[in-house]
């Protein structure tokens, strides 16, 4: 079954969408969309590093994403506005990555594949790494759900209840780096934030509780992944952007539907 490239692509996209859309709820609740963006843009630097050192791209991307995410955490405590720090790091890392890739000797690499994803070329090995990452993220989310929620609501309230908000922030950062790493093959560095934010945003109207919002977001994310692959086969369009297009369409439906229900 895994011999079929389409099956592999579908499994990779579904796994990534599942982890990204649930984690994306926290990105939305904490207003961290730009933080996700900065982390994702750093992925290109990770690609360059991985190619230079001849290690797995996913490992390189995960490593650099984590470093950049931790850097943002440290720097945003200081006197610069967080949005400024994010602007510096997001575009700095992207530009540095693009330059580093160009400087790599020899191998001509297909940059587009890393910017916009290339899920149809996912190998069995990639699939194993992607699902390992997805399962770790899902397990962390399951295990830390309430603590993460409380730390999201109010750090002091969390501290008083015996939950260390710093630790939860760190776990969130780790998960974000993990999702960026597994998503690079699927939607690419420039569209990862879409996979985080759009399903959660679309799920908001249909939700009266955090768990329900996560479940609806997951459903929307997986639907977008499968629908996007189908769309790209049908129209012969790039898969990553097609997935995001379907997600946006679902978001638009949810918004219009919500407005319709409200006015009815």
């Amino acid at each position: 079954m895994l011999d079929d490239f389409l099956v592999r692509a579908a499994l990779a996209a579904v796994g990534t969408a599942l982890a990204a859309s649930i984690l994306g709820c926290f990105v939305v609740w904490r207003r961290m969309a730009y933080f996700g963006d900065a982390t994702a843009h750093a992925a290109i630097l990770g690609v360059a590093l991985a190619l230079a050192l001849n290690v797995s791209v996913i490992a390189g991307v995960g490593f650099v994403a984590l470093i950049v995410a931790l850097l943002i955490h440290r720097l945003s405590d200081r006197q610069q506005g967080t949005d400024t720090i994010l602007g510096v790091l997001a575009h700095g890392a992207l530009a540095l990555g693009l330059v580093a890739v160009a400087l790599l000797p020899g191998a001509r690499i297909d940059l587009e594949a890393y910017l916009f994803g290339d899920v149809l070329t996912v190998t069995r090995g990639d699939l194993a790494v992607i699902w390992a990452g997805v399962l770790v993220v899902l397990a962390l989310l399951w295990w830390h759900w309430s603590a993460l929620l409380l730390a999201t609501l109010n750090p002091d309230l969390a501290t008083a209840s015996g939950v260390d908000p710093q630790r939860e922030n760190l776990i969130l950062t780790l998960m974000l780096a993990g999702v960026v790493a597994v998503a690079i093959k699927v939607v690419g560095a420039l569209l990862i934030t879409a996979l985080l934010v759009i399903p959660a945003a679309a799920a908001r109207r249909a939700s009266n509780g955090p768990e329900r919002m996560a479940a609806v977001a997951a459903l929307i994310g997986v639907t977008a992944a499968l629908g996007g692959i189908a769309l790209s086969l049908q129209l012969d369009t790039p898969t990553g952007p097609s997935i995001v297009c379907v997600a946006v369409a679902l978001f638009a439906c949810a918004s219009l539907g919500g407005r319709f229900i409200r006015s009815a």
């Binding site: 609740w29 002091d156 008083a160 015996g162 509780g209 955090p210």
Partner: protein, 244 residues
Amino acid sequence: MTLLSAENLRVSYGTTAILQDVSLSIAAGEIVTIVGPNGSGKSTLLRSLIGALRPDSGRILREAGLRIGYVPQKLSIDATLPLTARRFLDLPRRVSRAQAETALTRTGVAHVANRQMADLSGGQFQRVLLARAILNAPQLLILDEATQGLDQPGAAQFYRLIEDVRADLGCAVLMVSHELHVVMSASDRVICLNGHICCEGTPEVVSAAPAYRELFGTGTGGALALYRHDHDHHHHHHHHGTTD
């Protein structure tokens, strides 16, 4: 019996010392109020006591296994996060339906259990926060300006509720406020803070103390007596706070 005590706390942000040489202790069952002008370090002190801030020097001692219920100054729930009052009580640990109902009933907001937190009025919201804080039958309830945003009758009601809760649970209460008149009438002991402890004692002692009058002006002495007898009047008082 002392539940919580602090010895010679010093807390600073950068080079500015917010708290210096602050020592206090809370005994079981008493209501202690910390008053002080804006910027006097009230919230900093509470945050140190709950462990959210690490003091530069000094010690904080807690009775072993002390159960603390905490009501923060302000809890802004992002509009993107759907959360009912009932679900809020489940953070971080799930509680039984009966426990949740008991707590919400005790604070008078059982009817809003299934409403979204974002849709609650200021008074209802604070009562839900209080309900969550008393779920684990705390020995010490800590409230940071819990009546911010409530009008004066609303605030007076809230403080009476706290007195009731104290009577029910037998817990000690440590609260911070700048609403001197309302708060002080409900306190066993008042600590007047302005970076350091200016004076402390019963409400009568503190309101007569020169250090207190220097901070808040003399007009509050009469207001205190007034409010001790009548909580429900609408008065517009101005604090003559001279900040440092």
